[in-house]
Every structure is written in structure tokens, then in C-alpha cells.
């Protein structure tokens, strides 16, 4: 359920990004202001379809307005609604996972790195060991090695909650009620940019995760994830 909603969020999120593949930093950003990054996805990238602008004030460099003359690609009607529907599933199943993990002790026992696992020297050693013999830890399920713990806790307690919080920071109604949400990131456009990069990190995790599952025995790992050993 969680995996399905993350996949749906990733796909619909990409469709939403295609409507405006520009990222900004701060409160606002649009086609008439400088972008932090422009992503070469969809025909909207560098479309340049703007009528000559009119300035609002007399001074040089005044903010201005221009009318769009280009029919952009925009599938946000269904993509946004699907995105938020999947977000509901993510939040509900995520809460169940977090509560079950806390009460069963799984989160504290198996996921969070503890004690000597937190030492940079140990991490360095584990990293070198891992790169030398990648499929060393072939056991299905916990106990996890320190590298797995760092990765899983990064996903569970950092990246996924960050996606939810930056998502909410983009909402006009939620921002009106709780302006500090967008404020934490320096504005709702910054929150949108962080939302995108956290998504990119999650995609990287999923790719490596699936590769590792296949490398260490797909059948056995799938059994461990679902019904247990």
C-alpha cells in the first residue's frame, strides 16, 4: 500500500512537474522571473511564448506582466487530484507503519542506528567492506547492518516526512493557517524545490533498494518482506 502510493505520487508528481519544469528559491517564481534550475522535460521547457510585457511601475527593472501566447502541456487536472488521493494513502499507511513500528519496537530496535553504529569510523569501515563485497549481507529482514540502518532511517524519518511537510507548505489554505510551514524553507517555492530534491533522493533509494533485493536473492527477499521467513 505504502509502496503503491509512493509510486503513484512519483508518477503523478512528475506529470505535475512537466506543466512547469522550473524550480525557484524563495517566496515566488514564474516564467517572468529567474529560475534556480530549468529541467528539460515536456514541451514547456524554454517555450518562450510570451507577448511583449508591460511594466507596473516607472523605475527601471520594475515587475511586469506578459500574456502567454503558447499552449502549454498541462495534465494537472487529473494529475493533481491523483497526487493528493495517493498522498492521503501515504499519510494514513505511513502513520500506521510509524505507530506499529514504535509499539512493536521495530523502529528503535532495527531501523535507527545506535551506539557504536553512529561513529563515523564504523560507517567508513562498513562502506569500504560493502563496496569490496556487495552481496555480503544476504539475510532477509532484520537485523540490518549499519549501512542499511542509515539508509532506512533516512528514508523513514527524514525523506518521507519531508515530502509530506514540503507538500503541505505549497498549499494556500494550509499556508494561511500555518505560515511557518513554508517559512521553514524560506518560502513555498523553496518548499517546492526541496519537495523535488527529496523525491529525487527517494527515487535513487528505490532503484538501489530494488537492485540489492535482486542481487541478494529476489525470491527469498520478497518472502521475508511479505509473509516473513
Amino acid at each position: 500500500m505504502l509502496a503503491l502510493s509512493v509510486l503513484t505520487l512519483a508518477l503523478s508528481g512528475f506529470v505535475i512537474l512537466m506543466a512547469h519544469p522550473r524550480l525557484y528559491w524563495g517566496q515566488v517564481g514564474n516564467d517572468l522571473t529567474p529560475a534556480l534550475m530549468e529541467l528539460p522535460v515536456s514541451r514547456n521547457y524554454h517555450h518562450g511564448g510570451w507577448a511583449p510585457g508591460t511594466t507596473f511601475y516607472r523605475y527601471a527593472g520594475s515587475p511586469y506582466s506578459a500574456s502567454r501566447t503558447y499552449d502549454i502541456l498541462n495534465q494537472n487536472g487529473w494529475a493533481r487530484s491523483l497526487h493528493f488521493l495517493a498522498a492521503w494513502f501515504l499519510v494514513v499507511t505511513g502513520l500506521i507503519y510509524a505507530l506499529a513500528g514504535l509499539f512493536s519496537g521495530h523502529l528503535l530496535r532495527d531501523i535507527l542506528p545506535r551506539g557504536r553504529e553512529l561513529a563515523p569510523r564504523v560507517l567508513w569501515h562498513e562502506l569500504r567492506q560493502h563496496l569490496r563485497s556487495p552481496s555480503r549481507s544476504a539475510a532477509g529482514g532484520p537485523p540490518y547492518n549499519p549501512l542499511q540502518k542509515y539508509t532506512y532511517s533516512g528514508v523513514v524519518i527524514l525523506a518521507l516526512p519531508l515530502m509530506v511537510v514540503t507538500g503541505m507548505a505549497m498549499s494556500p489554505a494550509i499556508s494561511a493557517a500555518y505560515p511557518w510551514l513554508a517559512g521553514m524553507f524560506g518560502g513555498s517555492q523553496s518548499a517546492r524545490t526541496v519537495h523535488f530534491f527529496a523525491f529525487a533522493v527517494l527515487v535513487l533509494f528505490v532503484l538501489v533498494h530494488v537492485a540489492m533485493v535482486i542481487l541478494t536473492g529476489f525470491k527469498r527477499q520478497m518472502r521475508a518482506m511479505t509473509v516473513g521467513d
Binding site: 510570451w50 507596473f56 506582466s65 493533481r80 487530484s81 491523483l82 494556500p172 499556508s175
Partner: protein, 256 residues
């Protein structure tokens, strides 16, 4: 299990099922925004209800300083008199051109529906109400945003002047192009919900909705209907079909 208890159990089961079904079908009654059985629209309705339940009613959207005013794209219909625009209306388009050439002095806003005193308001009439100026952020569903200064009259003042009836629940906005959309009373009575006639210290430009547009600061940009001609107050949800967002695949509530 004896016969009577079995009947009772079966009855409560049926009642439960029926009420659960009723919960999903509330859209059909039209006293609620419809879902039309579409899974995506049901998700929108869930978001709407959750936000109405969880968020404080009249929280103000952040207001900025004049130095924060940014450039702002004009999208969607940028001139209702132009027949090449996607939402051009063949009857009202030429009328718009005519009113525009007279600097909108003959333009009237009609207030109708669940009000004690329906009537026509000129721009001068609207200017006689106390005005409100706010520098707010316009958030477009596409992903961009812009800050501008808007001047106008609070929608609630106009609704009160027209004598809105107690049963009124929705406010519908009909534009000079083929746009009809509505908001609920909570957003309609919000202190920052304006009928705006000014932008960045000047008259509202044509590309941004002249002579009058709606500003709903707690929802996405497309709810702030441009080129207003008629405001209809209704007790029930009114679905304008292909002219509104619902049947063209867009969410009706976008405070999201």
C-alpha cells in the same frame, strides 16, 4: 441466534451499509460539492472536508510589502473580446469589447439568487464601499507563483448589502468568457476574498480580469475568476457542466 435477533442484526447491517453508501453518494444531493462517483473527485471531496474540519476558519493568507511585488504572467483567457481565445463566448465577447471601449462606465455587475435585494452595481457603486488593499501571493496550479497588490471591496460587504438569505451556501461567478465557478460561504465571507478593481496601484488591466475579478487568497489561482459579469448566490451546489472545473477534470476545491 433466535429469529428476532437475526432480523435486528440484519436490519442494522443494512442501515449501516445504506448510510455508508449515502456518505459516498452525497454528491448527488447537490447540497454538497459533487463527486459523481469518480475516484479522483472523491479524493478532492475528502481533502475539502478534511481541510474544512481541521483548519481554522478565517486564518489570513500572508500579506507582503510593496517591495515584494513580482512580475506576474497573465494566462488563461487574457481578453474576452478576442475570438481566438479558448473560452471565447460569441454573445458576451462583443459586448465586452463594447463596454471596454467605453472604459467600462456602462458595465454593471449583477447580484442575483438567494439575496433579498438583487441588483446591478456599477464600478462607481463598488468604489463607494470601503476598499481593501492587500499584497498577496497568487499560486497557480501549474506550479508557479507571483506577488501582486490587489484593491477592491470585500465580497462579504457586497453580499451583506444585497441581503444574503440565511439558507445561502454557495456563491457562483459568471464571467464574460465561458467561465463559471463557485466557492462556499466560508471562502466567500473570508476577509481577504475581494472583488478587485485595482492591481499594483492602478486600474485592473484587461489581461488580469478588467473591470472586476475575484480574489480568493486561500485557494489556487484558477478560483479567482476574471472578467466578472454576474454573481449568483445559491442554497445548493450548482454544476455549470462544461463551463465549470468539475466536468473538465479539475478539482472544485483547491485550497490544497
Amino acid at each position: 441466534m433466535n429469529y428476532e435477533r437475526m432480523i435486528a442484526t440484519r436490519r442494522s447491517l443494512l442501515t449501516g451499509l445504506a448510510s455508508a453508501g449515502g456518505l459516498l453518494l452525497t454528491g448527488c444531493s447537490e447540497s454538497e460539492p459533487p463527486t459523481y462517483g469518480n475516484l479522483l473527485r472523491m479524493g478532492d471531496a475528502l481533502t475539502y472536508k478534511a481541510q474544512r474540519l481541521l483548519l481554522p476558519a478565517q486564518a489570513l493568507a500572508r500579506e507582503y510589502e510593496r517591495r515584494d511585488v513580482s512580475s506576474i504572467p497573465a494566462i488563461g483567457n487574457t481578453n474576452p473580446g478576442d475570438s481566438r481565445q479558448a473560452t471565447f463566448n460569441a454573445a458576451r465577447g462583443p459586448l465586452y469589447d463594447q463596454l471596454r471601449s467605453g472604459s467600462f462606465t456602462h458595465w454593471r455587475l449583477s447580484i442575483e439568487g438567494s439575496v433579498a435585494r438583487p441588483g446591478l452595481y456599477s464600478l462607481a457603486d463598488l468604489h463607494r464601499f470601503p476598499s481593501r488593499t492587500q499584497i498577496t501571493k497568487h499560486t497557480c496550479e501549474e506550479g508557479w507563483s507571483a506577488i501582486a497588490e490587489w484593491t477592491g471591496v470585500q465580497l462579504r460587504r457586497v453580499l451583506e448589502a444585497a441581503g444574503m438569505l440565511p439558507a445561502a451556501r454557495y456563491v457562483n461567478f459568471h464571467a464574460f468568457d465561458d467561465t463559471v465557478d463557485s466557492i462556499d460561504m466560508r471562502d466567500a465571507l473570508h476577509p481577504q476574498t475581494l472583488l478587485a478593481y485595482g492591481m499594483n496601484g492602478r486600474e485592473l488591466p484587461v489581461a488580469h480580469g478588467a473591470p472586476l475579478r475575484l480574489r480568493v487568497e486561500t485557494q489556487l489561482g484558477y478560483k479567482s475568476v476574471k472578467y466578472l459579469q454576474r454573481i449568483v448566490v445559491t442554497d445548493k451546489f450548482y454544476d455549470p457542466g462544461k463551463l465549470g472545473p468539475l466536468q473538465t477534470g479539475w478539482a472544485w476545491y483547491v485550497g490544497i
